[in-house]
Amino acid sequence: MKRDEIIKTIEGAELCPGNAGVVKVPLSQFRKVAEGLRYDKESPMDFLREVVGVDWGEEGLGAVYFMESTVTGETAALKVVSDDRETALLPTVSDLWKTALIKEREAYDFLGIRFTGHPDMRRLFLREDWIGWPLRKDYDMKSNPLRLDNEINADITREYRLRKDGTLEGIDHPIFGENDFVVNMGPQHPSTHGALRMRIGLDGEVITKVDPILGYIHRGIEKMNESLTYPQTLGMTDRLDYLSAHQSRHALCMCIEKAAGIEVTERVKYIRTIMDELQRIDSHLLFYSCLVLDMGAMTPFFYGFREREMILDIFEETTGGRLIQHYNLIGGVQDDIHPTFCQKVKEFIAHLRKVIPDYHRIFTGNVIADTRLKGVGMLSKEDAISLGCTGGTGRASGWANDVRKRHPYGLYDKIDFKQITYDGCDSFSRYMVRMDEIMESCRIIEQLIDNIPEGEYRVKTKPIIKLPEGIWTSAVETSRGEFGVMIESHGDKTPYRMHFRSTGLPLVQAMDTMCRGWKFADLIAIGASADFVIPDIDR
């Protein structure tokens, strides 16, 4: 195990409590350990799942790094702290993992930790003229009142380097090339699927750089959660990725249940798994509708929404909500399934199997669809892993990254289903992965729907839930990738730090890689095929 190896060989390394197995390493040794893990001979940790910035008060500011090897599936987690709160500096790992380019910017934006050697230290979610660091514990919530003056975005970004004598040096880099023609797109644009803004550098009609500007829907959910009790925090997850409402909430409930030692009944597991899969079909139908709508076709949009409404009806009968359902609770689900639930789901699956061939007939073989999707927007497997593009986008590049197979939860270890992967690496593969997953989800539901065991739909929990001290994590496969929850608990009834791994953030970052060299008009189709939801990115 890598964990024991690090603790043995590195002086001052210690294991933190919690199920995540986080190893705290001294700041001076961190870079060496990270490089060692990344280029390990047997199991190179090539997938950096997450970088979570945390304010540990007296101890200092720092970050937790979660990584995984795609070769062996082994995981590791490192914690590193800088005790200087005034000028907190950490060495960058963006040269080892590309995904750190954007995740370190997030940590900088929230906590003011500067990463030395990172080429682009700009704010990510907040206004560029924002004062202070909101996720620090001593942040004054009223220090930035509403301003209506227009925000000016810098064209130059700064890199910080440490000189040999320990002093800091700033080097300026221009964001766009000298000959780039920069076009703005968003935040109010119908094809960005929400309030996403991109600055696009063009050479003629060819894209040279995509610079996403995020935060137009940043609501500060992580900070708000720090003052909410555990049952209250559940209310926020449905509003992150609203097309994966069940799954995100499933992840948070699982994390709290794991930490508090609550066992859920078999019946709950069945209900949760079925709901997750229905949600996945719902999301993929919407993906199909939006992709074709973005490319100018209208009829398939009506097809997709026709079947989607049937799922929403099923949801509504049981949960009472159409889009935001608030169904999972700590220790179970809100209420038992509706008496007609099973019968309606079976009817729906039978219906869906009949109509999916129509979907393909109207769009998949279409000559316009083919030319605009096939061979366009390439994302190689190495890039997908390095950028952390999980979900359908990664699987379309041949990376088998399904959490349901890698770290089974719910009932996924007991049922028979295929992990869909394609090797095309293009927009068309990303489309086909999702279409095939609809059929696979049907198979999963069919295996479960007749066998839901009797039992409690919710186990009794204590009125006040307190988690034991430590760092706790859980992950699920949502409709568009790996959604992770990290809770740092200090034994209180509120979390000390709660972090959600966004499924869409790596996808937005990958837009630059996918779009470079392609025509401006392809950007819309590539973006639609990557399938991101903006409120999940901005949190």
Binding site: R147, L148, G194, R219, F305, E309, I534, P535
Partner: protein
């Protein structure tokens, strides 16, 4: 000529609407200010046209926008009521439909979109977040109600509102349009928030 209280909508009876007193107040105001025969008749014709082809500018930032897509699809087909045309340019739109949380970064953008729209313009605030900040009211980055920035004509509460609630809200907007004076300045608009601050100016003089 007396303007009748009726602001008829074919799909729903007058008595079934709530907040009728508000519209009746608008009608009373019209009558008090004197409604000429010719102007009122022309107004009624123009308003009939306006209210049955409401073009929306969508500012959809989160969940509510997905429910709006459901409105556009076959089951809830909003084309039946005359507001299915959505524009993506503020210059071509009558009503700004704000769907989803407005953060401090989006607020100047929304204000600019509103300023770019041509008069007469309307604003519909959809969902709890736009009305008051909703579940994110305590956040450091969320506007607690868009009516702090721009005047709002119709509030549609819900998180997100059901498609039926959308209809109801948009029909209320249509009804409001129907009892307005179009020629010679739109009545019933709160001028306090206007960009050039007409009302405040009047007060100074």
């Amino acid at each position: 000529m007396e303007v009748k209280k009726m602001a008829p909508i074919r799909s729903m009876k007058y008595e079934e609407f709530k907040n009728n007193d508000y519209l009746e107040g608008l009608v009373r105001q019209l009558n008090d200010e004197g409604a000429g025969v010719i102007l009122t008749t022309v107004d009624r014709l123009i308003n009939w046209g306006r209210s049955n082809s409401v073009w929306g500018l969508l500012l959809g930032t989160s969940c509510c926008a997905i429910e709006f897509m459901a409105l556009g699809a076959a089951r809830y087909d909003m084309a039946r009521f005359g507001f299915e045309v959505t524009r993506n340019s503020p210059r071509q739109a009558d009503v700004l439909v704000v769907m989803g949380t407005i953060t401090y970064r989006t607020a100047p953008v929304m204000k600019r979109l509103y300023d770019q729209m041509a008069e007469p313009k309307y604003v519909v605030a959809v969902g709890g977040c736009t009305i008051s900040g909703g579940p994110f009211i305590k956040s450091y980055n969320v506007v607690n109600g868009i009516d702090q920035i721009i005047p709002v004509d119709v509030y549609i509460p819900g998180c997100p509102p059901r498609p039926e609630a959308f209809y109801y809200g948009l029909m209320q907007l249509q009804r409001k349009m129907k009892v307005e004076r179009f020629l010679g300045g739109v009545n019933g608009k709160d001028l306090q928030h206007e960009p050039n601050g007409k009302k405040e100016k009047g007060g100074d003089e």
